[in-house]
Amino acid sequence: MNNAHSKAVLELNVNNHPGVMSHVAGLFARRAFNVEGIVCLPVGDGRTSRIWLSVNEDVRLEQMIRQLEKLEDVLSVRRHGPAHAVFERLAEFFC
């Protein structure tokens, strides 16, 4: 997963219904901010989901997080460093 950019991993808890992924992806897309990796699965009883995003460190990232926090269907946002294991463990599916 290493390349020229240093990465950040974002962990989002979101409501689980059609359109939530569009809201999240759209925030990045319309700012021409590429999302390098996405993983999403329902949590618990399925009323909420967890989205993991791998994004490049960028001066705009703090603003992106604040915009994510404003989304009605985003319940929480946590920022992790590049060392977070979620995408590394998935790497074997992308060989």
Binding site: P18, G19, S22, H23, G26, R30, E62, Q63, R66, Q67, E69, K70, L71, E72
Partner: protein
Amino acid sequence: MSSTSPETLTGAQIAVRLLERQGIRRVAGIPGGAILPFYDALSQSAQIEHVLARHEQGAGFMAQGMARVSGEVAVCIATSGPGVANLLTAIADAKLDSIPLVAITGQVAKSLIGTDAFQEVDTYGLTIPITKHNFLVGSAAELLEVIPRAFRLAASGRPGPVVVDIPKDVQNERIAVTEWPVPSGPVPTPAPERKLIDEAAAMINAAQRPMLYLGGGVVHSGAAFQAVELAEKAALPTVMTLMALGAMPVDHDLSLGMLGMHGARCTNLALEECDLLIAVGARFDDRATGKVSAFCPQAKIIHIDIDPSELDKIKTAHLGIRGDVQAVLSELLPQVEPSEDHPRADWQARIAELKSSFPMQMPGIDDPRTPYGLIRAVADCLDDDAIIATDVGQHQMWVAQSYPLRRPRQWLTSGGLGTMGFGVPTAIGAALAAPERTVVCFSGDGSLLMNIQEFATAAEEGANVKVVLMNNASLGLVFQQQNLFYGQRAFSSKFKGVPDFLKVAEGFGWQTLDLDATADPAAALKSALTTRGPTLIHASIDRHQQVLPMVAPGAANKDMIGD
């Protein structure tokens, strides 16, 4: 929830009942296939009056007019497909200017969604980036939760538009309703942090050359009174964004009027010199700041906003305070030292010097046959109760520079999106929401044609709207920019065919006044503005008149063209 004896109702009836329960008394819209069940239910409402627009964009802006005048959530209605597509501009405009709107839209039946059905468009997808939030309603029962939530979202925090898309089969679905949700209001914003207020007060008290920078949030929050109190207590020279005009009377001693691209030279030069900028409900828009790195180069910044994502978005604040600006200003006021204790005599003298050396130049102000003179002559016929709307272009900037706006919600203009065509339908919505007031809409011949079909709505409703048309047979601000920045290559900015606007207006059933043909424009204006009902006031202006001063797009505010 409030319990009642169970009723079996359709989704459409439930939606109408929920609007009634929210206190909605007037909506604007246009019916069409996918929203007909809703309209059928609406026809039975004794509480809600429907204003039939002639284009969905007009309906959206009429709702904006109602919302901008009252500060309350307003509602517009459209059918699926083209109805929604036509509404998008008004929704996007509401998003950028933080106007609380709920748009109810019809959608094709659930079983047809995604099949390219007749008049199907992806309303949900299209409205994601231009709303605060949007809903595709899956069942009649969901309406009971979604509609109050839509109103709560539109009104809470930073206001904005919310779309509720209702498939036709959901509108027709019958369910038993045993309990009604409590009508929703805005959720209170968390109180500002005490420590930050203390810091802000200390920064203001220590500043030698402080300035206050008011934005539209001051109007939305109902904080104009507190903002003027703060300015007066600490003797703060005050600038306003386009959206905030009227928050402080523009002829107040401390007012320096509008800042930015078309601000007075003294205003932008004062900002150049300030050592503390107190931004209140303002978002550092590029039209206000010019080149951001050169904006207020000597100043520390206190930024107060209800929306945390605005803090540090454009300009990193030395102190960012998240909160309702009215609450923040109220807490700040007692801690700010009165100007008697802290005279800052040098700064007051410097501001006075800038104002006298570099005032707003308004050539022709005494001649009603010039842009500034016409605006002044209109203002002379009216008092502060009048509502002033504009379209977008040169006329908008001339009015922003020179109209004596003196109260919040007096001024209705498309700030963020800059939508030509905004003026007429917004003025109609305002006139219907505030029938006791005179609503003047300054417009240009370019803008007016973009929603002129709403003249029919105004005539039908007898709206007390006075359109003052500054006709220069061109897209004036485009013509101006081509002359200033594109080697005087005027292209596609001069109209070769110009309609006879007076005849057009007469055809719609409007009263008309041609100022070009009157010997005494002042007297004719007085008569036209004080006679109720929709009136077009037509005035030709010279195409070569420019809005000055002007900061070139991307340039620093200190580099102004013109005096």
